[in-house]
Symmetry: C2
Subunit: 229 residues, 2 copies
């Protein structure tokens, strides 16, 4: 078997290392990187080489440079940035449809594969949501709600699915926030949570998928009502 020779350029080597530092959270989002001079010495490359690596990550959406100020971490994922640019051209509805397709599949798989750990986490989030609901703490309620959906997807065990879903959710965050804040009552949402959790506990794939689908219909109606006005 002939293997292709892998001769990585210095720029690519530096970029790769920086990507890892970001992914491993050693360079945290929002944090400033050391100045170019320092990085040059640390990586042992010239300014040009270093700058080309930085520029590559800037273009990919991981970093952001500010002339005169510095370079900071903007995102931890290339896929997220690529999706973001793509999603900008799409409508909210299109994005939601894809997100729900992913969540529905995830719910089915979660019902099949969920571990005790997954269940514990889901239950914790549900009770958290309940508390927030009783306290009328809207922000906390919304945060918990989003966490619940993410937890379902995480229970699917499919990492690609998880990544895509989380990135799309992040992109839709402000929209979902507004939607939930506008809900007249929290009861509906809580009902959904209990139903889905129940189906996942019982490993009932069909029901899990169905409840998620019902949720989608509610959102779709909301959107069409909103666009009519």
């Amino acid at each position: 078997m002939i293997q292709k020779i892998n001769r990585l350029s210095l720029v690519e080597q530096v970029a790769e290392q920086m990507e890892q530092l970001i992914e491993q959270r050693q360079w945290k989002v929002g944090e400033k990187l050391p100045p170019e001079m320092e990085l040059m010495e640390k990586f042992g490359v010239s300014r040009n080489t270093l700058r080309e690596a930085i520029r590559a990550l800037v273009h990919a959406g991981l970093l952001e440079t500010r002339q005169g100020s510095g370079t900071l971490v903007r995102s931890t994922s290339v896929l997220g940035a690529a999706l973001k640019r793509h999603v900008k051209k799409s409508t909210m509805l299109e994005t939601l449809e894809v997100r729900f397709a992913l969540e529905k599949q995830a719910a089915k798989m979660a019902a099949e594969h969920r571990t005790e750990e997954d269940l514990t986490k889901l239950e914790a989030i549900v009770s958290e949501t309940k508390v927030a609901s009783e306290k009328k703490d809207i922000d906390q309620f919304i945060t918990s709600d989003i966490e619940f959906h993410k937890a379902i997807v995480q229970a699917s065990g499919n990492q690609l699915l998880i990544d895509l879903y989380e990135h799309m959710t992040d992109l839709l965050y402000s929209f979902v926030h507004d939607f939930l804040a506008m809900q007249p009552s929290f009861q509906l949402e809580q009902g959904l949570h209990l139903n889905v959790l129940d189906a996942i506990q019982k490993q009932d794939q069909a029901s899990a998928a169905m409840y998620v689908e019902n949720d989608m219909e509610v959102l779709k109606d909301y959107i069409s009502k909103m666009t009519e006005e």
Copy 2:
């Protein structure tokens, strides 16, 4: 109205122009770009600036540089390249699961929204597949089969869904090719096609989704059999 000054860096301006040239196919995939010297003059920037722009697109997967030879266009889509790197870390099964989640949603939406044009196209592909099957032209059969699946997704009308699906399909191309080539008989596949097409014609969303799901099960079984060996 005061407008925020858009001070895009030279590098970003050059990168953006090059992306457009690629997207508009003025620079075609596989083609070599003019050498750096020439591009410097055309864009009116220094070598460093030009190289940073090129490097950004190289990292994004759109270009490829070969020392001593030149720079050539490698892909037309950022999303495709980002997915590709991500998918490398995922298993085939994970990728297929996501792809099917998208296709299932697409089938439902296609059943709802399909136009006469969509139906005509689907029918044409089905008969194309039939001819290939009778002629025992495996390559043509596989091509048609993939076209059929893509056409279903296209009939959904959701551009984000279409893009994601097509990129994932491209990534899985060799796998799908091998799978189909290994199928003992073509009848099964053709049955699926007719069933799905029928459901979409009748605008029966549930059936359309169901038939797609059946297809997924067949593939899953094949994979688990393959991984056991």
